[in-house]
Subunit: 230 residues, 2 copies
DNA sequence: ATTGTTTCTGTGACATTGTTATGCCATGGG
DNA sequence: CCCATGGCATAACAATGTCACAGAAACAAT
């Protein structure tokens, strides 16, 4: 009748510390002892709050999905939906690079500390991409894309962007065929392939590049991702 | 002046056992003790033959590259180079799914047992894709693709196929937007995007589907990948 | 055939990992 | 004020990669 409540502060601190360690020093910096030592608690804190190391990783993954969604929310919906799509892709790519290790777990199929995604987690991840589906719908209604299932078109964009990001993080896209060039090229090809005019594509791509700085690069979350909470 | 030679048989046995364990039971089945116990030696065998666990993984990765290259070599070079390209993509995808854990290390940026690719390893991986570059060149010379850098076009194909495979292995491509549908869709979009006529694309895709069975699915290597060596 | 040198290989140990059984004690309702 | 509930620290367990240390086996020279 009189339990001792879990301290939400230490819970948040553990997630923050783990995320920062993962981002800064990679997977080998993730161990119960290292994390809890930095938090000033014992290893048991991980188990009372998350059940296991996997539970902590799951928490970070959900945080990662939420962050991606907030990134997407900052991209405006203009009367040039194709440019919107390009900006969304850039936001996706930038977010992935800012949290590369977490991204590998979220979308790259990488298991971390024995954790791998459940169907529920993947549902969460797919939900994030509804923004892209919506954007594809607007592209179709604007007459830029051929009339087709917007979900399918959104998947095309997702697959291409994910493939690029993943190979980029793997160190496979190097000069002179670097990631930036590949990204522009495949995006243009794909946009033409789904029905847009080559000339319109070029114009929208140019517009998107101007919008990047304001809508995704000037992002306080990038700092938050690295900095400690307090 | 009288050293004792390394036994190449145990070396090969270790690689085979490790590859089979990885394919059948995943990453947690890879430990020096488990592998060497199955090989009937002590854990030291790993260190004398490969220096460390990472060395053994590197060996498996190189074996994986070689296998992919042999897969590619079985795809014919016909007078419909676009169909050739589609068959190559299918071979790539099939190989990745038959050795999913190894593929994740080869191209997915996944580190395994502390191993991660060196620049030299990646060079090896990129070399494998020269087959795709050659095919892109033939597509251009046949007037099917616009005149552009064939290396860049090959990268577009690679990125799309890799993105699809990686999301598929991650369990993200589910009905009704499943991997097969996504693969056909993005490949068609991309082929149109790099300059081919939509009608020609459809024809070549149909041709490639007929060729799949003979040129990539009837492959004794798929069995070899799982079965033990003897 | 014997010897000697070289190097593989088995044994055992060390540090580190995730996880948990076992208590202590802080907390908050009665 | 009391006391039970459950978070937390301590310490242990099994399993991991790795290596120091012999011992033995293999090869070259005599």
């Amino acid at each position: 009748m009189s339990p001792r409540k879990l301290d939400p502060e230490t819970r948040a601190a553990l997630v923050d510390i783990a995320a920062r360690r993962l981002a800064e020093h990679g997977v080998e910096a993730l161990s119960t002892r290292k994390i809890t030592a930095e938090a000033g608690t014992s290893t048991m804190a991980v188990y009372t709050h998350f059940g296991s190391m996997s539970g902590l990783v799951r928490e970070m993954v959900h945080e990662g999905f939420a962050r991606l969604e907030r990134q997407f929310a900052k991209v405006r919906r203009t009367d040039d939906p194709v440019a919107d799509m390009a900006v969304l892709g850039y936001a996706y790519r930038r977010n992935a690079k800012a949290n590369s290790h977490l991204y590998a777990v979220m979308f790259g199929g990488q298991s971390l500390a024995g954790f791998s995604l459940t169907d529920e987690d993947r549902q969460y991840g797919r939900y994030t991409l509804l923004t892209v589906v919506d954007c594809a719908t607007r592209c179709i209604e604007a007459g830029r894309f051929r009339r087709d299932d917007p979900i399918l078109i959104a998947h095309e964009m997702w697959i291409a962007t994910h493939g690029l990001v993943n190979l980029e993080l793997g160190g496979y896209l190097i000069d002179p065929v670097n990631a930036d060039r590949c990204y522009d090229t495949i995006l243009e090809s794909l946009l033409v392939g789904v029905g847009d005019e080559p000339r319109s594509v070029s114009a929208s791509m140019a517009t998107s590049k101007k919008r990047r700085r304001r809508e995704v690069e000037a992002d306080p979350e990038q700092a938050e991702a690295v900095a400690s909470r307090r």
